[in-house]
Amino acid sequence: MAVMSVVVFMLMGAMPGDPIDLMISGNPHLTPADVVRLKELYGIGRPWPIRWWDWVGQLVQGQLGYSRLFAREVGWIVLPALGHTALLAAAAMLMALGIGLPLGIIAGAKPGSLWDRAIAALSYLMLSLPTFWLGLMLIALFSVWLDWLPASGSTDLLSPHEGGLADRLRHLLLPAATLGVGGAGQYIRHMRAAMIAQSQEPYLRTARAKGCSPWRVIVTHLVRNALLPVVTIAALEAGALMSGALVTETVFAWPGLGRLSYEAIMGNDYNLALSALLLATLLTVLASALADLAYGLLDPRIKSS
């Protein structure tokens, strides 16, 4: 994490234009003496390790700095955006699991069957779709052509606004579907593979020998055990969703973390981009730690080492 913060910080240092250059172009009255004073104030020109250390010091105190683009404390911008992204990611996750798991179970229950092959083909299709194009097509179909759902315009979901709950859900539906399809494809493949791997285990033969009906064997024995590896995948996916939502958020103008970091990078808003990127990294690392932990908890055979 510390290494990452250095890397992110240095990358930002190489971004086009520094804040002072922009101020100079924005205000022709600044004299060269002012420029020197301002550069001193912002600490530009000092070596990067010192600047990095200062920045970390402020970070620990909860001072994320000031966003030039939005003219507010970065914390006030990042937190609501994080909430929006979390909502979108959760909805997408729910959709992906809701579609992926049942289909994966059906496919894995009878490998090689017609159902299995149809579902496998479907999962390929889902994984090959470019997210942003799917988003565009959904907009073209549901917003432009059928005029059922809004393409964008989701405002602050956390504060009370005119639309009410139904309106919020309408805004959520298309982006969540766009983001969820890739995940659904993944879950189908992993669930199917886990089911087939588990079906070789001797405990299943025991269950069948006891006289359990085939469906009972599948539902109570096979699925429960096959879910284990999928839980790990899901935890990893959650991390990927948080940062992967960037494209979807841009297409649907969703006010989340991904769009925010994109805007910050493009508008070279130094402090904001830095915080948003660091947060995305933190979430990804956290998700993979969670995945390890969940695996250890669910399967006592694996001791978390």
């Binding site: 299709l125 090959s128 494209v247 990804t284």
Partner: protein, 271 residues
């Protein structure tokens, strides 16, 4: 069967794309009188916001997108192959360090990182102005940054192969005979690693096409007027209310290519 379908699809896509300079119309011929016209005999897929032939642009964009995918995956394969070979062959702390690096890159949020890399100002990194503003530079940069984060899977695969090969009799015999390490790796390990490496490199092209198109879509990859499937979509996004069909074709091209590649990879793995 899977391999055959996949190859047929790929040939079907690649052939017109490769032959497009001799078959299709000029992809950059602007016709402001004939903007956004519907598919017709003159323009099979219609024309775009500047009156350029959509089919010609699609094929020209395909040349760029496919070239980027092939070169990037080759670069990533070389990089990952070298790192994997070195890691597996050396073992010990060097192996541990290289594998932590690999894990580290896998743990990073990929897309935001790529966007930062793509948004870096080349002038600040000491690239001369003329080079930095040339058309090829944006494409070259795209290739390099995707390859820089894309080598990890291949490195892991090659490392695992190298480790298992090290224990094989023919390698141990060669070690006992005192063959030099470089010759040993090239003559006795590399040939056995090549075929899984090629399969992995081929499969990685699907992901690369998706990444390239996403970056170009965001305006950070291949930049207009050079067409790529990704940046054609970003042009079409602004027009989705008036000409939704324009957004259809590049997406289908990306989708079919990625689909064929993943089918091919899956088929090859089953053999």
């Amino acid at each position: 069967m899977k391999v055959k379908i996949a190859l047929a699809l790929l040939v079907l896509i690649a052939l017109p794309v490769l032959l497009s300079p001799w078959l299709a119309q000029d992809p950059s011929a602007i016709d402001l009188a004939g903007r956004l016209i519907a598919p017709s005999a003159a323009h099979w897929l219609g024309s775009d916001e500047l009156g350029r032939d959509e089919l010609a642009r699609l094929l020209a964009g395909g040349r760029v997108s496919l070239a980027v995918a092939v070169i990037t995956s080759a670069l990533a394969a070389v990089l990952g192959g070298l790192i994997g070979l070195a890691s597996g062959w050396w073992g010990g702390w060097k192996d541990a360090a290289l594998m932590r690096l690999t894990d580290g890159i896998i743990a990073l949020p990929l897309l935001p990182l790529l966007i930062v890399l793509a948004a870096l100002d080349p002038l600040r990194l000491g690239v001369p102005v003329q080079l930095a503003t040339s058309e090829g530079f944006a494409i070259a940069r795209l290739i390099v940054i995707i390859a820089l984060v894309g080598w990890t899977t291949i490195a892991r695969l090659v490392r695992a192969q190298t480790l298992s090969l090290k224990a094989r009799d023919h390698v141990r015999a060669a070690i006992a005979l005192g063959v030099s390490p470089v010759r040993l790796v090239i003559r006795h390990i590399l040939p056995y690693v090549t075929s899984p490496l090629l399969v992995a490199a081929t499969t990685s092209m699907g992901g690369i096409i998706l990444t390239e198109s996403a970056l170009s879509f965001l305006g950070l990859g291949v930049r207009p007027p050079v067409a790529s499937w990704g940046n054609m979509l970003s042009g079409a996004m602004d027009l989705v209310w008036s000409a939704p069909l324009l957004a259809l074709w590049p997406g289908i091209a990306i989708f079919l290519t990625v689909f064929a590649i993943s089918l091919l990879g899956d088929g090859l793995n089953e053999i």
